[in-house]
């Protein structure tokens, strides 16, 4: 398309995308600004700047307990989710088995389901079973939503995995376990790694499911919501900024890591 009129289009698209990106990050910027005030209430423009609330938040025992709860839940969810999703992804993307198509749709269903309703349903269910809600039940709740997402992520990697690689390894005398260790996992690991990242971040940031299933325990998002509604302190945007920046570091770091390893592999090959 060499027409003169065609030349401004990529530029226009670029500008539009930049505007959208700004739109997406504006709240985070506002959050960051709101965390840098010294006063207890938020009034813009900020007259007294300072890192006071950052210090207060991290020194707070209450916040420390929250962080511990959130991180523990997220780590355990990640570990379990990756394992279950690994097998699920293989079932999702390979082996033309009868019912695979129905399986795919079934697995995707929880992702689209309104989380608040799912949270309530799980609360009801725990109640009916006589199980008391705590951070442990929250883990289970998170898994129900997180595992399908991670399954999807890993299946994308499985789709481009050539089964002939495993067959070749088998043919060369490897046991099933060795095939898994030497061929399957190394080739799939970018997918597994991405899946793990997703699992951690989705669990860490989850609110609707946590709200109904953590019982007496509290996660960071729950705490923040409570404070948003009543008892606002700049500690809320502090935690918000920490979440955002933390997610950014994890994602960019993870993506960078995958790129490095991939480049290293093709370099060596």
């Amino acid at each position: 398309m060499a027409a003169r009129t065609q030349r401004w289009m990529p530029w226009l698209i670029g500008v539009w995308t930049a505007a959208i990106t700004l739109f997406i990050y504006l709240p985070s910027i506002c959050g960051l600004l709101a965390s840098l005030t010294q006063s207890r209430y938020f009034n813009f423009p900020i007259t007294k700047w300072g890192l006071v609330w950052w210090g207060k938040t991290f020194a707070s025992l209450e916040v420390r307990a929250l962080l511990e709860t959130s991180i523990t839940i997220a780590l355990i969810v990640t570990a379990i989710a990756v394992v279950i999703a690994f097998f699920g992804a293989i079932a999702f993307a390979r082996f033309d088995w009868k019912g695979r198509s129905a399986f795919q749709k079934l697995v995707l269903l929880p992702i689209f389901f309104p989380q608040s309703v799912l949270g309530l349903a799980l609360l009801l269910w725990f109640n009916a079973l006589g199980i008391e809600t705590s951070w442990k039940t929250a883990i289970f709740a998170h898994l129900v939503w997180v595992v399908p997402v991670v399954t999807l992520v890993i299946s994308i990697q499985v789709y481009s995995f050539d089964p002939a690689l495993e067959e070749a390894a088998f043919d060369l005398g490897a046991t099933r376990w060795q095939v898994l260790r030497e061929v399957t996992l190394p080739v799939l690991w970018p997918g597994l790694f991405s899946g793990a990242l997703f699992a951690f971040l989705l669990s860490w940031g989850n609110f609707p499911l946590s709200l109904f299933t953590t019982g007496a325990d509290t996660t960071v998002p729950e705490y923040m919501y409570a404070k948003m509604v009543a008892g606002y302190t700049p500690g809320v945007p502090v935690l918000g900024t920490v979440s955002t920046v933390g997610a950014a570091i994890l994602l960019l770091g993870g993506y960078g890591l995958i790129l490095l390893v991939r480049r290293g592999r093709t370099g060596a090959a």
């Binding site: 398309m1 027409a3 009129t5 990529p10 995308t17 959208i20 739109f23 997406i24 990050y25 504006l26 709240p27 985070s28 506002c30 959050g31 938020f42 813009f44 423009p45 394992v83 097998f87 293989i90 999702f92 993307a93 390979r94 082996f95 088995w97 198509s101 399986f103 079934l106 697995v107 269903l109 929880p110 689209f112 389901f113 309104p114 608040s116 309703v117 799912l118 309530l120 349903a121 609360l123 009801l124 269910w125 289970f140 709740a141 129900v144 595992v147 994308i156 789709y159 971040l201 989705l202 940031g205 609707p208 998002p221 923040m224 948003m228 918000g240 955002t244 997610a247 950014a248 993506y255």
Partner: protein, 294 residues
């Protein structure tokens, strides 16, 4: 009799142990216990007498009658309406970006994708609260307007408009990525051929690009619509109590109103609506081809 049962059992076990099936077992178990069962219990609860808390009672249709008789249909309509508006706005906003990601950005596409994906991992409440800080009286927007230009305006918060704004904000990636996938599936040479055969830019778009990108666009719309119907945070955080979508009604029923069966009935109706839609549209799509099976 016992022999036949044993044979059936063995062949069932054999079928289950085939590679595809057995890999599916862990996740299916999880979904059975964690998804299907709770939903079934909600279904059960929806038939329980109002304001009771036990599942094991005689069934009644009282809750459904209440929903129809009272004004609960309003919240359904609000949820549906807001979801539709959100989808329409997102289609218009996202197409240029999807086109850029699939065609124009080249090496930058990955970076832009990453930037767009990142917010998904931050809690909804956090992000929406950023908008509260922006739009609230004395917040970033109004505070700047007042101090710099002396303009004192009412806050846009707590209106239906801002709720839709919030929904567009939250669900943007879910429209963007399927759409990008759709646009990327339009072979470049086919658009060149259309141009070569005399079509203007607009005609190329209408005759070739749009029809061929349609599967991606439809999936984006479906995904966004389904998620938007389940939206609750936007209405609560940005909208206050101006609009009560059906999800909020369900929550209220479970918490303040202490009427679990009613909440359950509302949830059942909502699930039927959403689930029916998802299955109807997904049935027409071959997920393998879209996700890239070789």
């Amino acid at each position: 009799m016992a022999m036949a049962a044993e044979r059936v059992g063995r062949s069932l076990a054999g079928w289950l142990w085939r590679p595809g099936q057995r890999h599916a077992i862990p996740i299916l178990l999880l979904l059975l216990i964690g998804f299907a069962a709770p939903l079934l219990s909600i279904l059960g609860f929806s038939f329980a007498p109002p304001r009771t808390f036990s599942l094991w009672q005689l069934p009644t249709l009282e809750n459904y009658r209440t929903i129809v008789a009272e004004t609960f249909y309003q919240s359904f309509l609000w949820s549906l309406g807001m979801a539709v508006v959100t989808v329409v706005i997102l289609v218009l906003i996202c197409y240029p970006v999807a086109y850029g990601l699939a065609r124009t950005f080249g090496r930058w596409a990955n970076l832009v994708t990453l930037l767009m994906v990142l917010p998904l991992f931050v809690s909804e409440n956090v992000r929406l609260y950023g908008w509260v800080l922006f739009f609230i009286k004395g917040g970033v927007l109004l505070g700047s307007l007042k101090s710099l230009l002396g303009i004192d305006v009412e806050s846009v918060l707590f209106t239906p408009g801002i709720i839709i704004f919030g929904m567009v904000y939250v669900y943007l990636p879910f429209m963007l990525f399927p759409m990008t996938l759709g646009v990327s599936m339009v072979p470049r040479e086919v658009t060149e051929a259309a141009s070569d055969l005399g079509a203007s830019r607009l005609q190329v778009f209408r005759e070739v690009e749009l029809p061929l990108a349609m599967p991606g666009i439809v999936i984006g719309c479906l995904l966004t619509f389904v998620l938007a119907i389940g939206a609750i945070a936007e209405a609560k955080v940005l909208g206050g109590q101006t609009v009560i979508p059906v999800t909020h009604d369900i929550e209220i029923a479970f918490t303040y109103a202490q009427n679990w069966p009613l909440g359950a009935a509302l949830a059942v109706l909502m699930t039927l609506l959403v689930g029916g839609l998802v299955l109807a549209v997904l049935r027409r799509f071959d997920l393998d081809r879209i996700l890239g099976r070789r």
